[in-house]
Subunit: 348 residues, 4 copies
């Protein structure tokens, strides 16, 4: 029962097959091949507009280079306190930009819009001591398996526009959010006002396929140099393109995300039905958080359920009682209903 992370899964067979299919033959390097160019066109189609796409190797890179593209001296990006770019990138966004991140609070993994507005207003124009805001970053789906509704994204974007701040979306689990909301990529991004997207493929069935997508190509003019100096320009870049080709073909990416989400919902049902666990909050994508007695968690571990105990988010730490623990259960394209039901029997 593998619920540790969606990055514990490997690669979907169709993605592995496509890599094999493209293994032979010569192609120009550094993102200039026919396949690379074809996939750039696919991104245009998926987003229903001409976008600028940059393949990179890791989600950390996508998020950090997004920040680098908007960095300015004294700059500060605002993000949720529990955001990956604040808590889990090993300082890469700061190291690769020289800029700072500032935490904004809000329940269930999302910035409260009033807190965000207060944070933006907290910077006085020209105050070099405090610095100045340079952007806002949201995560969709969030670190804790929740979602921003489209209207909420639009509200954040409106605040950004008003203050001249670009809006970045960390979409490490973009597909999971998309199928959960049942909207289009364009709807979840630029139609609401998102400027830059970290488009993640790795957690949803690729080996290593991340893309930085600029909704306005004019804003990406420095990116080729930013990517190179950050050691993220791959010579045989088509190996990323080939993954994305299979990922998008026939809507595979959406099918994989739907499966992962369905498995999460099935898991949530088991938890709701159990008297020994309770859902910490309603899962909206492929991550389920539950609260249970520490000894119950230990017993589950002992019965080969693999998952992480999770540090309670700042806004939700009151939910976890004494001798209780919060656990995170992540599903993926590779999760089977059988696994879920085995876990269900264990907690019944």
């Amino acid at each position: 029962m593998h619920f540790a992370s969606d990055n514990w899964a490997g690669a979907h067979p169709k993605i592995a097959e496509n890599l094999s299919r493209h293994a032979s033959g010569f192609a120009s390097a550094y993102g200039t091949s026919t396949l690379d160019k074809a996939l750039e066109q696919t991104f245009n189609e998926i987003f229903e507009r001409e976008v600028a796409v940059f393949f990179v190797g890791t989600g950390t890179a996508a998020n950090s280079l997004a920040q680098a593209s908007i960095a300015r001296p004294g700059g500060v990006t605002l993000a949720h306190r529990g955001a990956h770019i604040i808590e889990d990138e090993g300082g890469a966004p700061e190291f690769l930009t020289g800029a700072r991140l500032q935490a904004v609070d809000g329940p269930i993994g999302r910035m409260n819009i009033d807190n965000l507005e207060a944070a933006v207003k907290g910077f006085r124009s020209g105050d070099v001591h405090a610095g100045r805001p340079m952007g806002v970053s949201i995560t969709q789906s969030t670190e804790i398996g929740t979602l921003y509704e489209l209207g909420e994204i639009a509200a954040v974007a409106a605040l950004c526009r008003k203050n001249g701040l670009p809006l970045h979306m960390d979409g490490a689990r973009f597909a999971n959010a998309l199928v959960s909301l049942g909207c289009s990529p364009a709807d979840m991004t630029w139609r609401q006002g998102v400027d830059i997207l970290s488009f993640g493929g790795t957690k949803n069935g690729c080996w290593c396929a991340e893309a930085l997508v600029f909704m306005d190509p004019a804003k990406a003019q420095d990116m080729p140099f930013i990517r190179k100096r950050s050691a993220q320009l791959f010579s045989k870049s088509r190996f990323i393109a080939a993954q994305f080709e299979a990922y998008f073909a026939g809507g595979l990416w959406l099918d994989l995300a739907r499966h992962a989400n369905a498995m999460a919902a099935r898991l949530a049902n088991h938890i709701t039905a159990s008297s020994s666990l309770r859902l910490a909050w309603q899962p909206r994508a492929n991550e389920v958080f539950a609260i249970l007695a520490e000894e119950t968690a230990a017993a589950l571990h002992a019965n080969n359920a693999i998952f992480y105990d999770w540090k309670p988010p700042h806004s939700e730490r009151h939910l976890v009682g004494t001798n209780e623990t919060l656990i995170r259960l992540v599903t993926s394209y590779a999760t089977s209903a059988e696994e879920i039901d085995r876990f269900g029997r264990l907690i019944a």
Copy 2:
């Protein structure tokens, strides 16, 4: 006739197959999987000692993080004027370290040992204005297809030891150099005094497999953090491990390099036999440099020979006459004898 670069080839079938073989199943992420650990052991065996290995995504990353591991305030790394870290990394080594690089001249792609010694001695102890040396970097095989002999590596290493400087080897084409010299990996590295190696697999048949190898694991204690903050820690790291597994199995890597080198030698023979081209210098690995009339180069291009005109190295610029050009022809595991001979007929 593809001679543009060894990174225009794709991935060897055995490497693609192995990726498919490892695509299913769950494995812990971020370099902690059983396969990752097994490959670390393989590196120990290949280098006949316990080494510290860090998988990264690009050669730029391997070289830059090697520099980061030895960086110190005011530090300067000495390398050949034509070295990749000086000319072709888009400033990544400087950007990711805050340190500087200083060019040392020498014929056919190798630092002259006297020039290197003079450069080291040029730094006076404690002179904060000029800075201080922090390391030396050599490329094996060099940017222009030549080699340092083992004794020459030892001489550079002796100078390094005497001055307390770590010695880095950029081994983007490590295997090509190895089979050319006919020695062991240990012989070409730590037995001569190399401390840190950028071990490249990509150019020799992998999709994307680079490793940073520290001969003394004690010198690599900061590397996990350096790698993460530089966005080079891959979640599904086993996709790199799987490539290396196939790469090393049955000595595939050496076979591929031998093939590439043999194709280069075959190409050199054609050039020697031709009256319209001449070898710029003797090729020792899988890169052949030739000098020819500009119009001849144009004619070759027109006949579907794909290669780059090359800026003559500083020390060899006198070799190229008026109306002549220097061209680079690179062979790889995927080059066929038929291609070579077709080119041979073209220049006969």
Copy 3:
């Protein structure tokens, strides 16, 4: 009535005079002059041990270079949420180190020791995603005019020692804290376990005289290079040395701090006696914080009282009621009793 900041004052006449006295004559540059060396010796005497001293130009530089001296990849320094290095350096500590700062809460400007311990323990060994602690920084006197007692410094230091973390003290108002506690420089620093001190002279009567003091010179070996690459090595460094010479001569620095503190106490007395203002917390050095109606603050401004309205510290924001404001009143060596009493009459 100038209470905006102690950096609105100029330079004490004795300091200006000493600069004039040293204006003539030749002296070797970049911190090597006889006067520079003599002042280094004075620092040894003042701290009752051999220390390593580095003159720099600004408090931002002292604090940032202190961080640079302890920086390591993935590193995070812990400081109070309201600390100058977190809120008021324009990102310089992060920019000049590549490392991060993490806020720790605590009442009246001081880190709560339990919060600090929890923050340190929050980092799991080897967790590259979260990074690792690299140091702790305290401010003495604090940003809001309070103090760490000697025993409290010792407690922070003990926690640091236990976790292998160097302890930095931001002493922009070192002298004010010192005379308030009535202890020696050694008592307030290394005897309690402080490793690195930003020793500020500027706010207490110098033009521009800041020093970075390493209690263990062996820990300062990289500092000459760190200072130079950060553009903080002054050619005519003796102009800083000359300021410090006069600053220390006859205990001037302590006299100036005693005066500033006495003026603050006198001001606090006026506020206590007034019915229209109340002390936000007890002042311990040369900064007085008061809470009053917004309209009262406006009236004071209109009567030529110069001070800043202050953003309430996170832990004290509940103290300020609706339609109230928090104000900061800073005294200095140049503040006169007459000014204080004029303000006193205004609020009576």
Copy 4:
């Protein structure tokens, strides 16, 4: 006989006096005081246009922040091989920008315009591997006491304009160059096409007064944040303003530079008359370079002549024979004719 450097002198009495004059009284901090603003106006007058002025503490800072203001990802600034920003800033320009410097050769301390053009053309548009030019920097007067004629500056500027590159002038010895050419500050800068100037006052009689001058204020919008994050924003900034006030009053700065240059010319005359030394090249400002037998240099040192043996510039290294040495003799506002003549008698 002090010829080691112009930064071995102290401060001119009038500058020290003015500091004393401004020592009392309160003034707003961080460059906002009346005096600061008045001096900004003075700079406008001196440059005959509205400029943006930023006071900083060191020449290293002025040069590095100039680079930071024009930095872009992958960027490279071109400067003479012997330029201070390349050889003598301890890596500060690279550290504070993340960008690189590239050396251009040329005789007697000045870039050869053809070499410069070749260097610019050496960057192919969009080549992320090599990076891209981001600016050009010239030094006036040069590191070795020579000058760019106005027409030569204009030629460099024309090349810059044509290639969209800002032109920076390192004016650590700006005044010395100015009085030597006998032109106005506007003539030597923006009228020829200089965009950014490091205006040095320290070497010419100030304690510590450097200014970064942007000929087009619109290009300086990020500078307040760049200066702060680089720890170069001085709280009691008026101590720099006060130096500049005295420096400019009654043309003192020009008088001091004329004196220093005259002393250099007098020294050159002695050398020309001597049979034991020869001028390395014709001095144009306040630095005289001479070639002499090593034993003669030793004898001069033994007779209390203080100067540095100098590493021969790359383009002039052929001038220095076996057993000979190149020496640098620097004069300043504080050099006396008596000192010069004493040296003259020594070498007669």
